[in-house]
Structures are given as structure tokens and as C-alpha cells.
């Protein structure tokens, strides 16, 4: 599973043009949801705030995987009205949308932290293979669905890429 963190709302809106951008928000329902940066909850949170502050949000969608072209094709997203896509997923999901919507501005609003193992029974995940710049995250644990950091370590294993 891939752990990514979403940028702050202020950083996201810096990339948007209130007058020009017609925005579609696409949220991944697998890794990003598990790590607290995707799924319906994060989509609603960002969508409501953008609409409330006057941004032109045209479409919202939750897809099973943002990183799979077959799934993207199956989901037949109708986002022709939009000229800007915000993808709430890891950078692999962003890459997939960048390739498949070359005529639209696809915003990268998350940063990959690392590859993680999960324990869904205890609702925790652990970073075992960190990405560049996040080496200090190795071994850190978080709460699934929220991405809230945990103080104590519950999964005892260590892995270095």
C-alpha cells in the first residue's frame, strides 16, 4: 500500500484560478482512502470548502483505483466540463490522470511518503519503505482512514529499501 500526504488547503488553492479553472475532484478509494487522503470523506471535505469559497467545482468522483487505466476506462468519468483535475491519490494516480487527460491541468496535491504495511484489525499502518526526503518516516505508524500519527509502535518489523 502507498502512503501519501495531502498538501494544506492553502497550498492547493494557490495552484487554482478562481475565474478560469473548472475543477473536477477525483478521489482514490484504495490506498489514499486507507491513509486518510482519499475516499468520500476527503473528497467531501475539499469539495465543500472549494465550493463555499467560490471555486467552480464541476464534478466529483470516487474511483476504486486512480492508478489503473482499465478501471479508469470502466468508470467512464464524464468530466468534459472541467479543465482542471485535482486527484486525491498517490503520485501514481496523478501520473495515470496526467497521461489520460493531456488536455487538462492535472494538479498534484499530494506527496508520497512511503510504502506501508497495514493491520486493518488494529486500524494502523506502518511506513516500511520511505520515499526520498521522508527517510525519517521509516517505522512510523499512523491510524488508518485518518492518517493520524501514532505515538507508540504496535507492528514490530523494520524494512529498508
Amino acid at each position: 500500500m502507498i502512503f501519501s500526504k495531502i498538501e494544506s488547503y492553502e497550498d492547493i488553492v494557490k495552484k487554482l484560478d478562481k475565474n478560469e479553472d473548472k475543477i473536477a475532484i477525483i478521489s482514490c478509494n484504495t490506498c489514499a482512502r486507507t491513509c486518510g487522503n482519499g475516499g468520500i470523506n476527503k473528497l467531501n471535505e475539499l469539495g465543500f470548502r472549494l465550493i463555499r469559497e467560490g471555486y467552480n467545482v464541476t464534478d466529483e468522483a470516487v474511483v476504486l483505483y486512480a492508478c489503473s487505466e482499465p478501471i479508469l476506462r470502466e468508470s467512464k468519468l464524464n468530466i468534459d466540463d472541467a479543465n482542471t483535475i485535482i486527484v486525491l491519490s498517490c503520485s501514481a494516480g496523478w501520473s495515470c490522470f496526467t497521461r489520460n487527460y493531456p488536455d487538462k491541468k492535472v494538479l498534484k496535491v499530494t506527496e508520497d511518503i512511503g510504502l506501508v504495511i497495514t493491520d486493518t484489525d488494529r486500524e494502523i499502518f506502518k511506513v516500511v519503505m520511505p520515499y526520498k526526503g521522508h527517510e525519517s518516516e521509516l517505522d512510523n505508524e499512523y491510524r488508518t482512514n485518518t492518517g493520524e500519527p501514532l505515538a507508540s509502535k504496535k507492528i514490530k518489523l523494520r524494512c529498508v529499501a
Partner: protein, 401 residues
């Protein structure tokens, strides 16, 4: 999805084994399967290779997501005796899955077979591609992606699965099917071999990854010397077997089963690819049975899965996938006879169960009774969520995650 490439040659793998090892093959059924180096068929090929070289393989263990450590622990707990006997586990998983297995089985020799490069996509044109490499790889983020072939050449790794040409030819025997002799693997599953010989045998509950369930009775055949009709999915091949797969009686029974499924589930079940195919094949346009099932409430309480009991044909694939692949046992049968239903948890909503969201049930459901939730909405015209249902046009092998 996580991108991994095989890192060991078959000879290197054998050097890590001793002749008296009791080996368990452990495979993940998600990302690495899409990378072409794992899955039930790959485990079977490796088992044949190892057995051909005199090694002892005691178990093939397929797990829906090997990077979920709680699932690995459950697989161990359900088969404690078998894993106590094992001395080596060969993992067909990414490095995360390998770490989980090593953690869960600290006293057993665990041999990893793959190198993990980072995350990537499943591309329609190129297959799996690496887009976000890990720092140790020394490659930059690339939305166009690096193909597995690029990675194999750059890092001098192993292409594809273990040397497929080294898979020993299994012992073959001849059986007679519909009056014609065919060559089949000795002791293999009859339905597997009939399908391998490109015979069209209807089956709704059987999948080689899940094993025989024997619930749908669509694959019934006649075998000379055996009483009545037998489900081919539950039959082991024997020397000299004489099998009839199509005759008037068999066709009549299959039509009857299909008509009962449509009567129980309603016309909507015809949207299922498998059911639609067999209804056309047997030219069933009318139904002698009246619709007998009450409309049941669709369970969309969960964030990830939707369960439509109206589409359930009680094939048992979801029950089997949840128990065998995931180990969670969230989905079960309840009641008996004509009152049998599938339930989640203690007849609770999906959202209130301890579902691990490994998606095994959805991937193996033949009728879309369980589907991953995908929703969209237009903010201006019709600002309500619309359900996008995934038609089962694709097999699990083309779904990436």
C-alpha cells in the same frame, strides 16, 4: 499499484533450499499478480518445477493482500499444524508482503523472490509501469513510466516468471470426452482440464484460485460407471474415464438451473456477463418459473463495497474468497435450504463488520452482487451521487491495485 520484478533465478532459488525442506508457496493476489510474477497459476507452475526436481511442496497459500499483516496472521492461525510442519516459505509477493511473512513466521526460512521498485500504474498499452520509484532505485518520477522490461534490463533482474521452459511436462493420461480421446494431466481437476482443452462447460461457482465449491451444479457431467450426474469441478481425473459433457438430459438440467436463477434473482441478473452468455447459448428466452424472491435492500453502508443481495446466486465464491484468501470470514451463509442467504458479519451491514477491504469477494463474484463502490456527481445539473457500477468485462488479472 506497487511495482515489483522477480529478483531470483530458479537456480538461485534452489540454492536457498535443501532437499528435505517442506515448502509452502505463498502468493499475493493483487499487485505482484498484475506484474506477472504471482497468483495461483504461477504457484502451480513453480510447484510443478520444484516437485519435478525432487523437492517437497506441502501447500500453496494464496492471500488476497499480503501487505496486510493481520491477514497473514489469520492464514497462519487457521493452519497452525501445517505451518508448524513447514521449514521453508517461498513468497511470490512484493517486499512488503515478504516482510509481513517473515514477521509472522519468524522460525521458518522465508525466501523472497521479488524486488520492489516503487509505485506505478497498470497501463492499457504497456501493462504495469513504474512511475514513482523509491529513492534507492536512482530513477526520477516519470508519469510516462518505466516498463518492467526497462527495469529488468537496467537492473539486470529476471524477466517474467521463473523459467517457464523448465516447467516439467506433467504426467499425461488419456480420457474420453464426448466420444473423443483427449490428453489430460493425471490427478488434475476434471473441470480445469476440460476448460484447458477449450471445452465450453458452464460454471458459476468454480474458480481455480478458490478451489471447488460445488454449489451451482452447472458443470454437471456424466461419467461412465458413476451413479447419476457429477459436478466436474469436484471430480479428480482417473485413467480411462469416459465423460459426457453434453446431451439432452444435461442440457435440460442446465437450462432448469439457469431458469431458476433468473426466477430467484429477477431479470436484472441477466446483466451478469456469465449468466447472459449461458442464457444465449442455451437459447433461453422464456422462463417456466415465476419470480419468487422479494426485493431485498441493497447494502451501500460501506465506503468501499456495495452488496446487492438481489443479484446473489448463492454460488459461494465470496464466502470462499473471504475465508480462504482473506482469512477474515466476514461473509457467510445463513439459514438452510430455500431460505439460504449470504450475510455479512452477524447479519449486519458491511460497514459494521471487520472487512479488510481486500476486495477478494468483489473480484470473484460472478454476478456483481458485490461490487467496489465508485460514485460520481455533477455539481451543477444533478448534484447527487450516481453509482458507477463496474461491468464484469475484465478479469481480476487486469484490475490493478
Amino acid at each position: 499499484m506497487i511495482i515489483s520484478v522477480r529478483s531470483l533465478s530458479y537456480d538461485e532459488l534452489k540454492r536457498n533450499l535443501s532437499r528435505d525442506d517442506k515448502i509452502v508457496l505463498w502468493s499475493c493476489d493483487t499487485c505482484v499478480k498484475h506484474c506477472g510474477i504471482a497468483g495461483m497459476d504461477k504457484m502451480t507452475a513453480l510447484e510443478d518445477m520444484l516437485k519435478g526436481d525432487g523437492y517437497t511442496v506441502i501447500k500453496k497459500e494464496l492471500i488476497s493482500e499480503s501487505c496486510q499483516i493481520n491477514l497473514a496472521k489469520k492464514h497462519k492461525a487457521f493452519q497452525e499444524d501445517l505451518f508448524n510442519e513447514a521449514t521453508a516459505i517461498i513468497t511470490l509477493t512484493c517486499e512488503l508482503g515478504y516482510q509481513c511473512v517473515r514477521n509472522v513466521f519468524p522460525k521458518i526460512k522465508v525466501i523472497g523472490t521479488a524486488k520492489t521498485f516503487g509505485s506505478g500504474n497498470f497501463s492499457n498499452k504497456k501493462g504495469p509501469i513504474l512511475t514513482s520509484p523509491l529513492p534507492t532505485i536512482g530513477l526520477e518520477l516519470n508519469p510516462e513510466g518505466y516498463t518492467l522490461k526497462n527495469l529488468v534490463e537496467t537492473f539486470d533482474l529476471q524477466q517474467g516468471f521463473f523459467d517457464v521452459d523448465k516447467v516439467p511436462n506433467p504426467e499425461k493420461i488419456t480420457i474420453t470426452v464426448d466420444g473423443k480421446p483427449i490428453e489430460v494431466k493425471k490427478d488434475a481437476n476434471l473441470l480445469d482440464e476440460l476448460l484447458a482443452n477449450r471445452m465450453k462447460i458452464p460454471h458459476l461457482c468454480y474458480d481455480s484460485s478458490l478451489g471447488a465449491i460445488g454449489a451451482c451444479r452447472m458443470c454437471l457431467v456424466k461419467i461412465e460407471g458413476k451413479r447419476g450426474l457429477v459436478p466436474s469441478c469436484c471430480t479428480q481425473i482417473e485413467e480411462g474415464m469416459v465423460v459426457t459433457t453434453e446431451d439432452e438430459e444435461i442440457e435440460k438440467l442446465r437450462k432448469l438451473i439457469l431458469q431458476m436463477i433468473v426466477a430467484e434473482c429477477g431479470e436484472e441478473i441477466k446483466q451478469s456477463r456469465d449468466i447472459r452468455y449461458w442464457l444465449r447459448r442455451y437459447k433461453i428466452t422464456e422462463n417456466r418459473f415465476k419470480l419468487s424472491k422479494q426485493e431485498e435492500v441493497i447494502d451501500d453502508s460501506d465506503e468501499v463495497l456495495i452488496r446487492d443481495p438481489n443479484r446473489c446466486i448463492l454460488c459461494g465464491r465470496c464466502v470462499s474468497a473471504c475465508a480462504k484468501l482473506s482469512g477474515q470470514k466476514v461473509i457467510n451463509f445463513a439459514n438452510r435450504g430455500s431460505n439460504t442467504v449470504t450475510i455479512t458479519g452477524l447479519n449486519d451491514n458491511f460497514a459494521n463488520t471487520d472487512c479488510a477491504h481486500c476486495l477478494a469477494c468483489a473480484h470473484y463474484c460472478p454476478t456483481n452482487a458485490i461490487t467496489p463502490k465508485a460514485i460520481s456527481k455533477k455539481i451543477s445539473g444533478y448534484p447527487f451521487w450516481t453509482l458507477i457500477t463496474y461491468p464484469k468485462t475484465m478479469t481480476r488479472s487486469t484490475r490493478a491495485g
